[in-house]
């Protein structure tokens, strides 16, 4: 199964404060362990929400709202995608992760939907289309 690991934002990430050398080194080491274990699919950091935007959907209307967004603890500062055998394995890995922020922080683990989870509405045509897209993306990455 695939899981997404979400690092919640705080004042420092929203202010664009970069991690110090020590944390970058610890994260580098942790990331290498994830790769060696075949767990790592992707890992990225997000710029502060001041560089971001939101699009609100209401009926046919689309409204663009520029960042920054005030509710810091609702925001994401970074994420990983991992391939694991169980939720437990994901939790064990997160417990080994260096504290990602200078002070208190929180990491959320969420299971990613696979094609099987969508049921009959995910028709064979849509499924074939999804597989084509994934193959295209994999070819692009290689």
């Amino acid at each position: 199964m695939r899981v997404m690991i979400l690092i919640k934002a705080d004042k420092s990430t929203e202010a664009g404060v970069m991690p110090d050398q020590k944390l970058l080194a610890e994260m580098g080491k942790f990331n290498e362990e994830l790769v060696k274990a075949g767990v790592m699919l992707a890992g990225e950091g997000l710029h502060p929400s001041s560089k971001g935007a939101r699009v609100r959907f209401s009926g046919e209307k689309r409204t663009v709202i520029d960042g920054p967004f005030a509710e810091t603890k609702e925001l994401i500062a970074g994420f990983w995608l991992w391939q694991v055998k169980s939720m437990d394995e994901a939790i064990q890995w997160v417990k080994r992760c260096p504290n990602p922020l200078p002070g208190e922080s929180e990491i959320e683990i969420r299971q990613v939907f696979e094609a099987e989870d969508f049921g009959a509405e995910f028709t064979p045509e849509l499924r074939a289309q999804e597989e084509r897209l994934r193959a295209q993306l994999a070819a692009k990455k290689a």
């Binding site: 997404m4 970069m18 991690p19 050398q21 970058l24 080194a25 580098g28 080491k29 990331n31 290498e32 790592m40 992707a42 890992g43 990225e44 950091g45 997000l46 710029h47 929400s49 560089k51 971001g52 935007a53 699009v55 609100r56 959907f57 209401s58 009926g59 689309r62 663009v64 967004f69 509710e71 609702e74 970074g78 994420f79 995608l81 939720m87 994901a90 939790i91 417990k95 992760c97 504290n99 990602p100 208190e104 929180e106 990491i107 959320e108 683990i109 969420r110 299971q111 990613v112 939907f113 969508f118 509405e121 028709t123 849509l126 289309q129 897209l133 295209q136 993306l137 692009k140 990455k141």
Partner: protein, 140 residues
């Protein structure tokens, strides 16, 4: 530049309930992502299962505490994401405006667009080369 388009959770996504007209929504999402792929913009996309299947780890004073889902603050949660590679923030917003209404054509919804850090943004740090070697924080 790379951007992440995040779909915010709702009571329905958290309950694992698909919107009415699910078939059309899936078809719209498939078409939109095909368009992204054709334009060479699409990097990845996935949906997330309800937070009831998830967990959180809290870091405080050197301690790690595990908290099992579900999590009550639904509007803080993410229900899915699309990763794109574009030339500008404007291009990212233009694509985001074409995103299918994420919870069905007539339902209210919100998506958030956030720029990804590239390794160059972290400055000259030795450890950054180790990130680059394993393909993290780099354009595909």
């Amino acid at each position: 530049m790379r951007f992440m388009i995040m779909v915010k959770a709702t009571r329905e996504t958290e309950a694992g309930i698909w919107p009415e007209g699910k078939e059309k929504l899936f078809a719209d999402m498939a078409k939109y992502h095909e368009d992204l792929a054709k334009a060479g913009v699409l990097l990845d996309a996935s949906g997330l299962q309800p937070s009831s299947k998830g967990a959180r780890i809290k870091y405080s004073g050197g301690q790690r505490t595990l908290v099992d889902g579900p999590f009550s603050e639904t509007k803080e949660l993410i229900a899915g994401y699309t990763l794109i590679q574009v030339k500008s923030r404007e291009e990212a917003i233009e694509w985001a405006k074409r995103f299918p209404a994420p919870h069905g054509a007539t339902a209210d919804g919100e998506i958030e667009i956030r720029q990804l850090y590239e390794l160059e943004d972290f400055g000259p740090v030795e450890a950054i080369e180790r990130f680059r070697k394993i393909g993290i924080g780099t354009k595909k």
